[in-house]
Amino acid sequence: MKTLTASVRGLAAIAAMVLLGLCFSPQPSSPAPAAPANRLQINAAGATFPYPIYSKWFDEYHKVHPNIEINYQSIGSGGGIQQLKAGTVDFGASDMPLNDEMLSQFAFKLIHFPTVLGAVMPTYNIPGVIQELKFTPQALAGIYLGKITKWNDPAITGPNPSVNLPGNDIMVVHRSDGSGTTFVWTDYLSKVSPDWKRTVGSNTSVRWPVGLGGKGNEGVSGIVKEIPNSIGYVELIYAVQNHLPYGEVQNSSGRFIKASLATVTAAAAGAATEMQHDVRISITNARGQDAYPICSFTYLLIPTKISDPAKRQAITEFLHWMLADGQNMVEALDYGRLPKPVVTIEMKAISQID
């Protein structure tokens, strides 16, 4: 009997150790604050490009519907597509619309829901240069192909006669993860540079001729901020929020355009009619005097069949909310609103989810 108590004591002590492991954190594992009884967590992952507005939306939506939590992890568009395909998230998000071949790899059907318009811009950090630089498409392609290596290269100084550019090496920064921002950027470079199209192409991740990689829009803007003489490409809001200077880019009508709500919206102006047939369109290098050339819609990828009725209802309700109230929040975060006709198209598409 004595042995029994001894071993019981030993075991109790081991159990205590396990508990001690639990009390590791300054705040022991107190249960999460009482959630509503019908609490529902929906998991999503994907693009970092719209991450600021998505996290704002999901936070606001949670305030309106306290029982719905939409957990969005910005692991990149490539990740969103892949994890949706693997079935580990409820829906995905991508800046790159999926082509038919990619869709055929899915075991289920899915619908693209454009959410906002965004712009990708070259951002740079050159000590001593505070002016806005003007970039020609050739300069951007040259820098990213590794053919232009100094800041005082004529291709860069040409459109910027008033700026005193140093002769330092250009530190090229790109995304290290599969990213829709990369897709938009490379899609644009492919349109303006045959060289780029032939040697690199466009995708969420590509074989970069030069440069170092940062993870996420956050990562790239972080590196550009940290490293002098660097250039990177990020979504508009990341440049704005981080006070990074960003350049004007020459559009298809030869004008240098700065990315802004107006110029992004101008780029999407002609898109609505085309989207009647298919929302998966590219609007980089769009026509129009005022169109900023590196723009894109970004998409939520929603499966047409959602077996859990509670999730289905929550997701469709969120989509309705996003197209109405949600759109009112986008401009504060420097994204472009969806054009009205596109909202109508999407409202119809929601009914396909069942």
Partner: protein, 282 residues
Amino acid sequence: MNRRTWRKVVNGVMLGLTGLCALATVSVLFFILGYLVYNGGRSLNWAFFTQLPKPVGEVGGGMANAIVGSAKLLLVASLAGIPMGFMGGVYLAEFGGRAFPFLVRYTADLLNGVPSIVMGIFAYTVVVLPMHHFSALAGGLALGAMLIPIVLRSTEEFLRAVPQTLREGALALGANKWQAISSVVVPAAFRGIATGMLLSLARVAGETAPLLFTSFGNSFWSSGFNEPTASLPVVIYTYALSAYDDWHRQAWAAGLVLLAVVLAANIGARMILSRKMSSARG
């Protein structure tokens, strides 16, 4: 004579250099601690421990969910890893034969050397893919697999350190072998074994790589063990690589908390051990 002085000089210089090496190595820890306290200490506040993260780019918020998430992961890891490591250690120390214990020790060493990122792949293919969920369970199991070899080795070592006479005494009193083990040998080594477990938990508490694609991340609370779960190390990683000053600030604060917990566990464990040793000596 000249040669003699030369040798003396070499002696002095080289010995001085080794001292410098030791000093440099030791100072790294204080250097790290100093930076964390300096950068993180200012950012530690009540909100940090009690609030959920704010939407991107908004200042404030905390990482209460990540702190609790880390604790959850450790719970799963302990439940999965400690019994297996402990029982395996008992087997090696008390029952072992020849060939099989060699195999077990060898694989345990192998498991111990597995890069943590590979453990993440393993948990992804074995748990996440079949379950169609990132979950605390997957992350915890990855950490648990890392616990096994550490607990196994320390259990075995501390059991072996128990004097043979204790075992013989118990057997002489008519106890079975297992009775001797469970009532005499294990209790005698218990403090050491428990400390080994604590140390192993401290080690996996800071692991990031196995969690990236297993427990994933969560901007809300996760309930139960079947949902994606935020954890301190992963949050430090994402926040540190972001471009937001406020997130950098929180990453430092989280780093300070994590390091404080890990160091406290280590120091505590070693104090327990040394007290035991001195009492054994005295």
